[in-house]
């Protein structure tokens, strides 16, 4: 027995409420983030990730309060992403009780920011979030996209992941924009390619529709952790069910 593979429920938070869109449209309200985080903690979530999908600064304040509230009741690692652009943003979230921050767009526009953040706060709290889309099949190639998958950058996803680790990223949160919200499973080829290219943990994200998808992400995708949102929010499955299913598939989990 050794290190367990992690299950990370992700809460997309908009103006203090948990929402989940299907490919960034059709946003459904899934409830109060503090209540949901507490439920996931009880069910055995290994970490919780909050993605702040709001744009206005007033709503950022709301997010800080959500993190504060959760951190005083839930004693597992908390990651916050969305709108992390400056050193002060990181400090604010860590002070509120977050353990890690996920940097996405800001890393693309200013890779030095990742370096600066890792030097200041340590690699252990810097997650670089990568949104990738397949741009060619043979040879398989993926490219980094920003703005919720709308804007191509011309950057190769594998090269980018390596560069971000060199710059100090302690973990990679990898989302397949092709799969996000589709419920047909992770992009396993992408996940595996990135996981094998870097020596830091990779969290697979985007496309989970059933519990077998989680096991595939670990076994075939070589992910160190799996992230899912909607299958947990709307009561389709509990975290505990997910872990039992993964254990049956021969994956080491924390039960």
């Amino acid at each position: 027995m050794g290190l367990a593979k992690r299950i990370i429920p992700c809460l997309d938070v908009d103006n203090g409420r948990v929402v989940k869109g299907v490919q960034f449209v059709d946003i459904r309200d899934a409830g109060d983030p503090v209540e949901i985080a507490r439920r996931y903690d009880k069910e055995g979530a290994d970490e919780i990730t909050f993605l702040d999908i709001t744009a206005s600064s007033d709503d950022r304040e709301t997010m800080v309060h959500v993190v504060e509230e959760v951190a005083s009741q839930v004693f597992i690692p908390l990651t916050v992403g969305g709108g992390i652009r400056k050193v002060e943003d990181i400090r604010t979230m860590l002070n509120a009780g977050a353990d890690k921050v996920a940097i996405n767009t800001a890393a693309v526009f200013n890779p030095e920011f990742v370096k600066e953040a890792a030097e200041k706060f340590g690699s252990q709290c810097i997650v670089v979030a990568i949104d990738a889309k397949q741009v060619s099949e043979d040879p398989a190639k993926w490219e980094i996209f920003t703005h919720g998958g709308r804007k191509p950058t011309g950057i190769d996803a594998i090269e980018w992941a390596k560069k971000m680790v060199d710059y100090g990223a302690g973990e990679i949160l990898l989302t397949s924009m092709d799969r996000d919200g589709t419920k047909i499973g992770f992009d396993l080829a992408l996940t595996r390619a990135i996981s094998e290219a870097v020596n830091v943990p990779v969290i697979a994200s985007g496309g989970v529709g059933n519990l077998d998808h989680l096991s595939e992400g670990v076994k075939e995708g070589k992910a160190d952790a799996v992230l899912a949102a909607s299958i947990f929010h709307f009561g389709e499955y509990t975290i505990e069910q997910a872990k039992r299913q993964m254990a049956l598939a021969g994956i080491e989990v924390r039960l």
Partner: protein, 218 residues
């Protein structure tokens, strides 16, 4: 009213340590302080830490916490967490070699860039990040009071690339396996220290903090 002081030397997330202590503190006041005089007055002391050891050590020295730790460890329970544990050893290989406080004999080593699972040969990622089983060490004097009510081999949350190698095995309070068997907790006299983060280890972590608030040292 007892007090527990969390040493604030400006590194990382002390709030989660303070919040976890507050969640289990009965008749104990939790303070977070960067003032050695205030910390000195507390009944129990926690030295947390994240990030790189060189920066941690330079801040610890600048604020005079190296002296304070040497002094209080003689007569008060002291808990080191993660880099706060590593800082208690003599030296670390991190940042090209860093001198540490040195109240515990031994050094801090790196997992290496080619760590492998001894059974499968698979490459293991560094940092060692996530929930791993902590094997409590049989101590000569019987089970350590810090493990009271915590089932052996419980999983705790780790995130680190360096690990402690005490000079004598008697110091080992727990071990963990990740490519190699490494020290997950050490103890000597009034000092107890963990490589994992109890504040992020859900109920088992809170149980360890509750035990610390009851422990009067050796």
């Amino acid at each position: 009213m007892n007090t527990v002081a969390v040493i604030d030397y400006g590194m990382g997330n002390l709030h989660s340590v303070a919040k976890a202590l507050e969640a289990v503190a009965e008749n104990t006041k939790v303070i977070v302080s960067s003032d050695p005089d205030e910390v000195r007055k507390a009944d129990r002391i926690v030295l947390p830490g994240v990030g790189a050891i060189r920066d941690c050590m330079s801040e610890i020295r600048r604020l005079g916490f190296d002296e304070l730790v040497r002094e209080v460890a003689v007569n008060k329970p002291l808990l080191g967490v993660c880099v706060g544990m590593q800082a208690l050893l003599e030296s670390s290989v991190e940042n090209g070699g860093t001198e540490c406080i040195g109240i515990l004999p031994g050094k801090v080593e790196y997992f290496g860039d080619d760590l492998r699972d001894p059974k499968t040969g698979d490459r293991l990622k560094v940092p060692h990040m996530g929930w791993n089983q902590v094997h409590q060490a049989p101590m000569e004097t019987g089970p350590h009071p810090m493990w009271q009510g915590i089932v052996d081999d419980s999983r705790f949350y780790f995130v680190h690339s360096y690990y402690v190698e005490p000079a004598t095995p008697e110091l080992i309070a727990a071990s963990c396996d990740y490519g190699i068997s490494f020290t997950a907790a050490v103890t000597q006299g009034n000092v107890f220290a963990t490589q994992f983060h109890p504040e992020k280890s859900q109920h088992v972590g809170l149980a360890l903090y509750a035990n610390f608030l009851k422990w009067d040292g050796a």
